[in-house]
Symmetry: C2
Subunit: 447 residues, 2 copies
């Protein structure tokens, strides 16, 4: 997410540290007695895991959010989702404003570049985006309340509307119904409102900026172009694949009309990218559907959004690069512009590091957890991808993980949310020392 120049280690560290602080504060608040419903007890690991899952907008849970947490605990979770989702931008803008006032020009330039802000006036655009985000969430609350108000009463309905509007827009995946959105699988109005909230929240920072500025500059950045195109292609492909693999949700027999099956299939195509709100249990999915969902979660959403995974732009750029290489062309291009070479390198390194992390996580979990007798590898792979993609859909093994398992899933959620590069740069703490000499070059056989 972060463009790195020679001052490369300040911003990643700041971001990593910021997320850790938010998680720590969330854990402490969730450990307060008033956060838990009377008669129930919250262990440190449960509070720590829940705070991580909420801040990293993942949605994997050890306890049922509605029945375990008291209203105060639910409020803490809602605030953590907001800070982790929208607040990422807020945090970034606040930091940049703070730093701009205190630090010298070169660092100011770094922060602007970190946020891909071409000039200072765009800080205003960011403020606008934050205001817009809050407006959309309030609008979503209102639209949900039209239904939830009737269904669940005035006050409880309002709280449910606000909580799920935040959860949907921040693509966080927490719910207060115990079975996600399964109660509403036959409700086209609610599913449409949720789908719009999810999509609006999944665009990400830069795409919103471009959309808001389009009327003024009549030009879309290459990033927005790539993100929107890749997203649309994956979306269309996903609807087709799920219609085929789930044979139009035939497991629902008579309880679902054909129209609702289509709407649910579209919802299925939207949710694994990062949202994590589901209309039925994913244990009902076919093997092919599960493998495709694992792939979607690995890809994740748009960078600059709340999505995890390796991101749509990464997969889009790699596809263009692979096609260019195989066709013997020099550069991957899109819309009459070519991509910077270091972008391609970054994308490919990201893919490789992500694969390595995931392979190691799967191996350790498969070895150390007490898993279901059948399909254990599928369960583990699904769980790992749900954490790395900050999607939060689970086949139900989250609560059964032991301490090591929980820590691994938490680490994956963190890496998925904060970003591999940011975390890696913070951990490796590398000095950008370039040796003044270079070794002689030599080729090797590949593939």
């Amino acid at each position: 997410m972060i463009e790195i120049n020679k001052h490369r280690y300040s911003f990643p560290k700041l971001l990593t540290f910021g997320f850790i602080m938010v998680i720590a504060i969330g854990t402490l608040l969730l450990l307060l007695p008033m956060a838990t419903r009377p008669g129930l007890h919250t262990s440190f690991m449960t509070a720590f895991f829940t705070s991580t899952s909420a801040t990293c907008v993942t949605g994997l849970t050890l306890v049922d959010t509605a029945t375990h947490w008291a209203p105060f605990g639910q409020l803490v979770i809602a605030v953590l989702m907001e800070v982790g989702g929208l607040g990422f931008m807020t945090f970034a803008v606040m930091t940049s404003l703070l730093i701009r006032r205190q630090l010298k020009m070169s660092t100011r330039f770094l922060v602007q570049e970190s946020l891909n802000l071409d000039n200072v006036s765009q800080i205003q655009v960011v403020t606008l985006i934050i205001k817009l985000s809050i407006l959309i969430q309030l609008l979503g609350t209102g639209l949900l309340y039209l239904d939830f108000g009737r269904r669940y009463g005035w006050w409880h309905g309002l709280w449910l509307s606000l909580f799920h509007s935040i959860s949907a827009f921040c693509n966080a995946g927490f719910d207060l119904f115990g079975n996600s959105l399964a109660n509403f699988k036959n409700d086209p109005y609610l599913l449409t409102v949720f789908a719009i909230l999810i999509i609006a929240g999944s665009f990400g920072f830069l795409v919103w900026q471009d959309i808001l500025q389009y009327r003024k500059v009549h030009r879309m950045s290459l990033h927005t172009n790539l993100a929107l195109r890749t997203g649309a292609i994956i979306m269309a492909l996903s609807v087709i694949v799920y219609l085929l693999t789930e044979r139009n949700l035939s497991q629902f027999h008579d309880e679902m009309s054909w129209g609702m099956r289509l709407i649910n299939s579209i919802f299925m195509a939207i949710t694994p990218r990062t949202a994590g709100l589901t209309t039925f249990s994913y244990t009902e999915l076919s093997a092919a559907g599960l493998s495709y969902t694992i792939l979607l979660m690995f890809i994740g959403g748009t960078p600059g959004s709340t999505a995890g995974g390796i991101k749509t732009t990464t997969i889009g750029l790699l596809t263009l690069q692979a096609i260019a290489t195989l066709r013997g062309h020099r550069d991957p291009t899109l819309a009459h512009r070519r991509f910077r070479q270091d972008n391609v390198f970054r994308a490919l390194t990201l893919l490789f590091v992500a694969l390595a992390i995931i392979a190691i996580a799967i191996l350790i979990l498969a070895e150390t957890q007490d898993l279901p007798k059948h399909n254990s590898l599928t369960y583990v792979t699904f769980e790992v991808m749900a954490a790395f993609g900050t999607t939060g859909i689970s086949l139900g093994i989250t609560a059964k993980l032991n301490l090591l398992g929980k820590l691994i899933i938490m680490a994956l959620m963190f890496i998925g949310r904060v970003g591999i590069y940011t975390v890696m740069f913070s951990i490796f703490n590398a000095q950008p020392k370039q040796p003044s000499y270079r070794y002689p070059e030599e080729g090797v056989l590949i593939g």
Copy 2:
């Protein structure tokens, strides 16, 4: 495998076409009545699949090699393994010799570059390698005969020794025992001979060349350096992982001594890279062991050998590149030399295309095959990797695949053996036209 310059499309096409021809001839020979045991019938698909599996030195089978095929059929399979394994080099050298006599200098240069031959005198080295390969296989036959001769009688023992020496050296994985090497899991002598044959065969062309020339030039190519180091690291890691995940093969209780468990664990670490000869059924493996085996098969062996997968040098180079990127260095280096940038690009594109092919194959197989009720995704993933890595270990679904499933597995074996780049360049048939203009450059957010 093939270095591409501006004359890039002749050699890949030649190679792809050559393999297809060998498979076609093999299919016809296996369809002859004398190839099948009396009373049994060989369908076209069985002959086609077996010919592909033997030529691509994979070892996946639809019928039991010992009981279905008559001696002539087994001989055909042995010759196909030899042509597919060793014969790849033979084929390449023969072609280069043939072309050198007829074509103009520039093409001659291409062929030399295709084989990474720095000068014409190295053709002699290749001839030497071929002679050495045949010598090793004859030696292996002799060493196996010391045991098999006593065990199975003079003539049958001799045939078994020759067949399995070829199968082991060419890393082909075919066997005439019906249960691979399970009969010999307590025989340290036979397992050692097999392990040496497998390792000798897995080095690949360039590494052998370097080893043979080392006394003369006292210098190892970067390729050999990387291949040997990566191979050794993966090997050591694999022994440790399997010792942990299989808890020293505890499923064998009293029937196996501790020493033999160690030898079998080492054999387990050697075989998934490409050999495919096993000392027990892989359905007995733990979930963690299966996931690690899937990873090993995906990586495969050394380029220029009979191995499939994305190759050890690819994974080694990508690891070095990832470490360099994360440490803020400019170039990935090894042994005081740096890698060519286009090598890194090639490796990364290879990884991406391989992943895309595998994901699509898994999705289609999961959707279209009648699979076991439990662990179906694991079975499919394992089968796909066994084909792509030309490893040929199966959890037992090969014979149950329908027509589409067989064709997909055959395509994967072919791609795994011939190489993604070679096949892609043949299919895409791209013209290396470089546009005289370049689009303006622009960056995107990655990760």
